[in-house]
Assembly symmetry: D4
Homo-oligomer: 245 residues x 8
């Protein structure tokens, strides 16, 4: 009754994104198998929420399987694995900046950056500009004005995206952080604050969802440059057995 995961390999032609593998729940051998399948299918493979120990185990498994095989890269600060080599940066796609309030937001910010990097998007981090010391943000306004899309990560009360969206005209994607204690533990206070924001046009993703924010930014960049499906027509409505292996 062993079941390999059924990958959604049509995702890239359909919506322009590779399938990311959520690593937290999966065992090393499951991740290794999926990575092989994705690489074999010509995809850039991204695994999120991988602990250092699990990353090492995956690396050993891949190395044992195909010595000198697909190069696996571990991004420990982002808790991510990628394989094979990352695609080149496409400057024309536009630029995303990932803004954080404090040290505890860095991992999720880097997850967003890696996820965009997997799609060739140029991404910068603008960190530690929390609203308790407002001048740190105000000092960087001109820098932030250069971005095409802003991803803003904040825990605690989650006020940073509200302040940013009140000052700047770009799309702002807010990412609530699960850091904190008491009412902010788990990120719900930040999430509610972002949804309730008095700044117009702020959008929100799930708590700690750096990957999701990155994909939302990618949709915007694709809309900007005119994403076009490849010529192989995807028959979503009536996709028959013959279309897929």
């Amino acid at each position: 009754m062993s079941t390999p995961a059924h990958l959604d390999l049509d995702r890239r032609p359909r919506i322009g994104m590779v399938e990311a593998v959520w690593g937290q729940d999966k065992q090393a051998h499951q991740i290794a198998a999926i990575l092989c399948d994705l690489v074999a299918a010509g995809e850039t493979a991204l695994v999120t929420r991988v602990s250092p120990g699990k990353a090492a185990a995956v690396a050993r498994l891949l190395q044992a399987q195909t010595p000198g095989g697909p190069p696996l890269t571990h991004h420990p600060e982002a808790r991510c694995l990628t394989a094979p080599a990352l695609p080149p940066i496409q400057q024309g796609m536009g630029r995303v900046m990932v803004v954080t309030g404090g040290t505890s937001d860095h991992v999720v910010a880097r997850e967003a950056a890696i996820a965009l990097r997997c799609h060739g998007v140029h991404t910068s981090l603008v960190e530690d500009v929390g609203v308790a010391g407002l001048h740190r943000l105000l000092d960087r306004l001109e820098l932030l004005r250069e971005a095409n899309v802003l991803i803003v990560c904040a825990g605690m009360e989650g006020a940073l995206p509200t302040v940013v969206a009140g000052l700047l005209p770009q799309p702002v994607i807010a990412v609530p952080m699960s850091v904190g204690y008491g009412v902010s533990a788990g990120g719900n206070a930040a999430l509610q604050g972002m949804l309730a924001s008095c700044a117009p046009g702020l959008t929100v993703v799930n708590i700690d969802n750096g990957y999701g924010a990155a994909m939302a930014a990618l949709r915007i960049l694709n809309a900007r440059v005119g994403f076009r499906e490849p010529t192989r027509e995807i028959d979503v409505k009536g996709a028959g057995a013959g279309d897929r292996p």
Copy 2:
């Protein structure tokens, strides 16, 4: 101790949006006063969540004040007031489609459409394509593919934006609806479902927040066409007394 509202008239040059007036909490005379101020300042004024009775009261007040004054338009299906005339549609800005699951989502969908219309954006409604009868959505996929941005309103379990974002590559802004009863009353089930979505890159706004979704779409369209601040430089950081009356 009477206090007129202090309008944020710098909002349009700063972030490209007019200040919308949330009418639910305000009395007719307050709304009338704010409308006059906004129109006097050369802005397009938008008031949301206005009941028919309150709309009529505002109209009477404005008419009494300045007979033959600024033309006030009531959009009863969207619960909105606008004044004066709406700006011309700017076809180059791109096109937004507002998708709904059922009849109960129509008012919020229309609020979003009016809010975009106030900024010259061309908006279409694609209604009653809820996931319980999936073919209704699948039949309209090619139509939806024409949009630059999709706003998807859904109540109940809120699954529609997930299905849409799994099929199409554009930016998808999900709006949970407060309609329903039991666990779906108030819109929280739909909100949670949208945030928890398994479709990558879905973003979410507050429950019933048609205006907010519209402004998020506007930010994306502006990013697409390259929003540029007007020449009058806004000194956000050190805005002195001389800049503002």
Copy 3:
């Protein structure tokens, strides 16, 4: 089985505050009776959350009872009644400023101001400085620096007290507002945001609790000027029947 309310007339000598009457739950004749008792006991009487209709009914009752009796004042913008005349302002007590984010916070802000005014405290309102248009707050920083205590009211995401407490050194008492819809309806999002605040030393009171914030400010002012109990010693622990009528 009719029971008159048992007033806590020792409150002023014990903790320096008059007992406020929460009017929302009480009928006009109950309020009128309590007002008479308080005035007869030489207290300044304050009733909060009184609708215009109920205020008029109380006035009629008091007038019928003692024509030319204790002067009752209705403060409709604060939903409050006071009687008899308010005490003179005591400049030496210090100055409180009540800061609000938007129009919907005005009633609660005025309730706080009236409650302080009943104790002779000089109070100013600084309104409509919400964080979505940050310059409105930054423009008033020098003014706010003059206050001894700041009460900051905000609904929606409730970020304003966080920003204020990050910029200024005074005691900041945050009052979450119940205004809003979706996740901000009822004020819980604002409350959580204020408790989770990243600004150090922010304190919070219950949603819409303008009176409570005022009393917290009064405690601080009293601590500042050295509140001293009157000479009549209150025997809290063993207060016998002889001490109280």
Copy 4:
């Protein structure tokens, strides 16, 4: 004060189901003792939520007690133990299909399958057909049409049962999964979404409750084939001491 568990051995004749033992909370020696009692009473014993270590400990205990004793089977992918041999499949009972959205749902799906297998029901798994890649589900519609009852497991936003119940006429039992993070952590978002479903006639069980879904399916199959109590009449209302040891 040692207390052996009092088993409900009347359950099978009364409602057609064996008592399952919830293993998560119990120690190995408790599970071993209950297994012996159930096997001695002629029942098929099922223990759910058993970790690999606990399963091994139970096996050791049973082996020590009665070498060559009742054959214990460990189903690690379902976290279940069964003893003795499973009954033969009864093709006439009908067929259940267990549908899952993603890899993280497999354990609970298998728990449901084992629980049905313990009652002789033929069960198939249809896995990884989550709604983010809708064609995977649409490709299997004809297969699903063969089932008499559908159990649909989904985490995240939990939309899969809604889509299935909108497309197919069979009884659909939805099982929310506890996988996920942020708002989907613990399974509450999926649960709410399933209860709020816009698809008519969807029913829901507790989060991760594969066993419960299986028993609900068994009730339906029994209703289908006409479950009849055995001739030994159960005196539920006045069951006297003589009926039970």
Copy 5:
């Protein structure tokens, strides 16, 4: 911008149910229009949650439109409207019993009964057998044993379905009621209790969802008698424009 509702008229051939119209949110003229469309399409029309006043208004509108038109029936105890005449009872489909704990559950129980009646199902009500006086339920066990499916409505702590499912082998669909006060107000305590039930195989629908419980029972009855789609094949996956008007 007037939009008629887009009815899902394929629902009956697809899943064997007519589309019910949720009347609470709709205005009389909207309901009247939908009723006409459904009747014109040859469907049995069911409108739920209609107040007496709204029912009268709908009747007037229909009468004005087509005097002597489709016979509209008002079921005030169920808050429902149906049109035209109900189909004959099909004894072979099996029998549903709707069990209630107390007087406050009667409306929802009747909504379930009417919804089943619209599909020709024979339904009985077994009322006021709440668990606080257990003998009332025990006295009716033999009666309940006759049902093919049991729908059990209960408010307060919602224990009734648990007791029923522990005593009887049939499918039991639990409907939590919103009646009550304090922790039971809104029906959440009953809902949680039903989901947490220690009785195996209990399934649950949304609070007050009598219609949903009826449709779940209908799915079970259809599975029992072998629901077969009509010969007109529904092309769900690739439904082209030609298939639908």
Copy 6:
């Protein structure tokens, strides 16, 4: 399909209490019918949560039905109706005191008192002893020491029962009140505080449940004096049709 309520007339011999009718949800004609049935069965009838208008309607209906019929008493301060005459006070049963924190708790306190009075229990009210002015409670300690059971009603933070149970040895039944605003609205803060109490042996009933607290006190008084079932033996387990009309 008209269904009279099935009363649980065995309740008094079984557990020593009459069935109370929860009037909030019922219409005047339903209440009148139940009252007649209860009085005809020789019971003391108690209806709770009856508005003044509904009480008058019930009185009119009863008077029309049987002029000079069973004397109905309206207790407006308790929102209760009783019929026929109340039984005599039985001094030997012991004495209950109902303690309240403030004016808003009086209605529920009186509901408890009436419910006990219907069973012949002597009950006193000790009101307005909230913990914000602690001496009011301390002054009455010797009085409270006379009670056999204490029912303590409190809203807001609900601290009063904790303080009482820390000072006195009797059974203390805490009743949270739904009065208040913000976090105390609906009574949940008080409920949680009472359940979390640091005072040992405090028990809690549902929010506003004066009747429930009274019945809990009655159980205690009955245990004290040795409640004995009447000679007519109630066959709870096997109650046959012959036992009940």
Copy 7:
């Protein structure tokens, strides 16, 4: 800054209970010190929620301190420690029965039994009579009728106390259990169900609070036999320094 705990040694004369030590949060050396203080003061010491390892550590510490010192008893099935010897059973106080639904409730039931045993109360356990197999409870009704007070522990949906209180006239104290998963995890579903109970006069304590239920039962037994404070009068209101060491 080392602080020994300040014990409330007046508790027994004041309210008839010894202070129990909540062991979960305390370290072994803290528990040992408190035990010594309590024993030295002539009290029966009870420590709850002590793991086996912590119990052993406390035993070692006490033995090291005073070899042959106060006899410490470990009750592992109740997670409790007691010292010195337990007092003799006082048959005249009455009898408490602790009823449980399933195996997972045994630890808390035993905690209640030990806590009562520390006060000389005779307590019996009646276990595994959950409502999913109702006859198990009905078989024991006559036994339960012998108790003066019933403590009923139940997890999952928590229906057992409701059924018991509907059948028997004694005081029933309900204890919700934290066992379970999904909606029953943590015990909230059981707690809500017990508070919402349709059985009159049920009272509830905090989740898993066996000690609290025991003390509530003790208050009832004390009320039954006429608890009298000892002759040394406790001056609660004005307790001066001279009264306490």
Copy 8:
């Protein structure tokens, strides 16, 4: 992509407080680096929520880096680190007392005391005066009357600050504790109780937030003695690059 934390070194001149480092989320090497930066900048460094193991690791790292370097002090009872030497007590600032209900509140109380001590404030602890034994608090009223500000920590139902604020006129800052089980687990019951308090002028901080309460007290003391910013003017609004290193 290594990012050192960007410290807010302007905080002391701006609002009179040093930046505290929340240690729970940070690794030892991150804490060590921040400590060095703060000490190098001439600040008193405070790290909160540091486990003993992490504290030792930080000490080792600092010692390795600069042998004989800045003296690091570990306050294990407060889970805090400070460096370098603490400033002298400034008696003129006034006196804070930190009041606790029970043993479990001591760590947070000590965190508050250390945080105040870092700013030269004289702080005393008044412990174990929980309301279940009220005389312990009443015995210390005269002592508490000496404080300029009261910080009151309480878990469980959180009633202590309410009782204190009802008896004393000073500013009272309530700190809810996360200790407890069932409804008090995590501190939410205490938090809600404090916010809902019937005592006027109580303010609240986040659960377990000893540092926050200390900073709120510091703001009050600063307001009392007239906090004055240093001569170096902070240009918050237009802080240019030249102003900051």
